[in-house]
């Protein structure tokens, strides 16, 4: 193995860019560079001539409802190619609005249905404008480790039978505030409601995406991910845990929700 390289594609970065999601590509890029792995980040915009086959990792962030509606038709056009990519063990991280668009469909509070690309066997519904959004710090357990982030979504996601969640909620709402599940996982496709951005302060999750992508691309020749100095990232993880779990914070956010 001389030098490894990964292609990272970011879907619609101008439209799906809420709450720091652009930090996810930066985290992957940085953790590659620190290990001598070349990372090439490409933006995919509406109408672009692009094939998922050229990617090792695909990222989709969250957007406001209107922006999600704008990308939806373009994403539909790429639906079967993206499903093939996931069937072929392609790595995906879809956050919030991106997570909803990668599910079966999203039903807005007006009843209007926005078709997804059905990577995840999940349905999102918006309970109506009078029901409060799911907002706040989240801690979830993923494979025995904590993942942290910030959620802000009006829609509630429900997983169909047989669809695995990504993680279990320790603190926060997660997919719908009811069943204690957070996100979804199909093969190497990860869906989540966590912003923050999620990857910079969850270095173990970022590294898992990189590892899966390297294994898929290089097979048994895949390089090991060497440990790097990521004390700053782990401190940020701890600070987010502290904010989410301290009682003061949860009391504050309850008050905030009541007065907002």
């Amino acid at each position: 193995m001389t030098s490894a390289a990964l292609n990272i594609a970011v879907l619609y970065p101008d439209l799906l860019n809420l709450y720091g999601d652009r930090g996810n590509a930066r985290a992957l890029e940085r953790r590659c560079t620190a290990r001598g792995i070349d990372a090439l980040v490409t933006a995919v915009n509406i109408g672009d001539d692009w094939s998922p086959q050229s990617a090792d990792i695909i990222l989709a962030g969250g957007g406001q409802d209107r922006e999600q509606r704008r990308v939806q038709a373009d994403l539909q056009r790429r639906g079967s190619a993206l499903r093939d990519y996931v069937d072929d063990d392609g790595v995906v991280l879809a956050v919030c609005g991106g997570f909803q668009l990668f599910g079966n469909h999203y039903r807005g509070w007006d009843g209007e249905i926005m078709e997804g690309i059905a990577v995840f066997d999940a349905v999102a519904t918006h309970p109506g404008p009078s029901v409060s959004r799911c907002v706040g710090n989240v801690v979830a357990l993923w494979e025995g480790e904590t993942v942290v982030g910030f959620e802000n979504h009006g829609g509630r996601t429900y997983l169909n039978d047989g669809q695995d969640p990504l993680a279990n909620v320790v603190s926060g709402f997660g997919n719908n505030g009811g069943d204690g599940l957070e996100g979804a996982r199909v093969d190497n496709a990860f869906g989540t409601y966590l912003h923050g951005a999620v990857l910079p302060k969850n270095p173990h999750l970022a590294d898992r995406l990189l590892q899966l992508a390297l294994q898929r691309r290089y097979g048994s020749d895949a390089p090991e991910l060497q440990p790097i100095d990521d004390r700053t990232a782990r401190r940020a993880h701890a600070a987010a845990l502290h904010s989410a779990l301290s009682t003061r914070d949860s009391r504050e956010s309850r008050l905030g929700r009541r007065f907002a």
């Binding site: 706040g136 700053t232 904010s243 905030g256």
Partner: protein
């Protein structure tokens, strides 16, 4: 003078007295909070604000994402320059209905009567505009801009725009709107409004375009759903815009030309329908020019002429913590409040003076008043600060998140690990600052209150009187 007979209302008077007592108690305890007296009065008398406001004279409401506090302070300064005293004004960002109630209580006599016909400048949180406009019907409503702010509290920008339009239907029909036409979302408010409109904006081809990576929130036209296109874009979504369907930025009647930055702030030529004036602002950044224009447009709607407008703007001193210059033992300190990406990008831009390097103290809290979501720090162009930063210290409850973001941005590594404790972070930052150096402090709202109190105890001079 009014010849309306005003009967005192014992219940209102009792509520006002209780509010004043709470305010007095808080002051003697050295607490800076301003909402509690208003909350107490609201509980005792639910319509207190409306009754107290019924005796007001000209009333200006200032709303929008960024610049409310500064715009309101500038307009109050203009009213004073025009000889209209006393001006009732909810200071220090207490811009929900209870903050307005507190300001009215403060100005009221113990019998529960505010000074008759006193002019009021009221800052209204963009989500509280409706309730405040109901309680205190405005003579002019000033809209500064609508940008991505603390969406964790309110949902999405579009729903705020929709609520504003609903509020307009309940304003007095002869109220004036002062609208920032460089913001396509604000400019569209005049559709469906039959009353008077004062449009303001920048008319200067020499203003540089926004650097790449500056975020824009309004990418579509709220009425036609077309893409917004720009021939010039100054920052965020502000600029000279048009749509394919032929809507374009209206020409402003109140505008700034010949804008220049200097050692002390910004200078520009102000045009209003009845004349011109040269203005030298003691505040930095293009956003300060927008705030001055918003205040000037409000003043025009109240019938004030160009001379007192210019005098009022020049007399304006940066509002509480928004932008303050202090001196401590020969070291210069600048405090710049910012709590969202466009505000922070603008604050950072004022620091980029070729050949200068400063010490930076960034304080990130995640209380309700700061925004509990700190992910916005990933949307700020910190990378642009790297060449201007000599030393870096980070503090606050989410200091660790900030340290991570700034490490990504390539800023110098902090001398010490991130400090949750603001006092410790401040001491660390000062350790690196030599006499004659400048320390720049970038706090979120609650961190600003905290650091300001500590600076006062350290003997900082030129602080705004917190009890004012």
């Amino acid at each position: 003078m009014t010849n309306r007979r005003v009967r005192t209302n014992p219940r209102l008077a009792a509520a006002v007295l209780a509010g004043k007592t709470v305010r007095w108690a808080m002051r003697s305890l050295g607490s800076g909070g301003t909402a509690l007296p208003g909350l107490v009065v609201e509980r005792l008398h639910p319509h207190a604000a409306r009754q107290l406001a019924s005796r007001l004279g000209d009333t200006a409401l200032v709303t929008g994402t960024n610049g409310k506090t500064t715009t309101a302070a500038m307009l109050a300064s203009i009213l004073r320059a025009d000889g209209r005293d006393p001006v009732i004004h909810n200071r220090s960002g207490s811009n929900l209905l209870r903050g307005v109630t507190a300001a009215l209580v403060d100005a009221a006599s113990p019998l529960g009567l505010p000074p008759a016909r006193a002019p009021a400048v009221l800052e209204a949180d963009e989500a509280a505009l409706h309730s405040i406009a109901q309680a205190a019907p405005p003579t002019v409503a000033i809209f500064t801009n609508l940008m991505r702010d603390q969406l964790d509290r309110y949902g999405e920008i579009e729903s705020i725009a929709r609520r504003w339009t609903e509020t307009l239907a309940h304003l007095p029909p002869d109220a004036a709107l002062a609208l920032n036409v460089d913001d396509p979302l604000v400019a569209s408010l005049e559709q469906g409004w039959d009353g008077p409109v004062v449009r303001f904006g920048i008319e200067d081809d020499a203003v540089p375009d926004a650097p790449d990576g500056d975020i824009s929130d309004a990418v579509w036209d709220p009425t036609t759903h077309d893409d917004i296109q720009y021939s010039r874009r100054y920052f965020a979504q502000l600029g000279r815009w048009h749509t394919r369907s032929g809507r374009s930025r209206p020409t402003p009647a109140v505008c700034a030309e010949q804008i220049a930055a200097n050692e002390h702030g910004m200078s520009f030529r102000l045009s209003i329908p009845d004349g011109h004036a040269d203005v030298a602002l003691s505040a930095d950044g293009l956003y300060s020019v927008y705030n001055a224009l918003a205040a000037a447009a409000g003043a025009v709607a109240l019938g004030i002429s160009s001379k007192p407008i210019a005098r009022g703007l020049e007399a304006y001193q940066a509002a509480f913590g928004r932008q303050e210059d202090l001196s401590i033992h020969g070291r210069r300190v600048r405090l710049l409040l910012a709590k969202n990406p466009s505000g922070m990008n603008q604050a950072l831009r004022t620091l980029q003076r070729p050949g200068t390097r400063h010490h930076l103290l960034v304080l990130l809290n995640d209380g309700i008043a700061d925004g509990t979501d700190v992910s916005w720090i990933w949307d700020v162009d910190w990378e642009s600060q790297a060449p201007y930063c000599r030393s870096l210290t980070v503090g606050g409850r989410r200091a660790a998140d900030m340290a991570l973001r700034l490490e990504y941005a390539g800023l110098p590594a902090p001398a010490a690990p991130p400090q949750v404790d603001v006092g410790r972070a401040l001491r660390q930052a000062f350790d690196a600052v030599q006499p004659d150096d400048q320390l720049i402090i970038l706090p979120t709202y609650t961190a600003m209150l905290d650091v300001r109190q500590r600076l006062g105890r350290m003997g900082a001079t030129n602080l705004w009187d917190a009890a004012a």
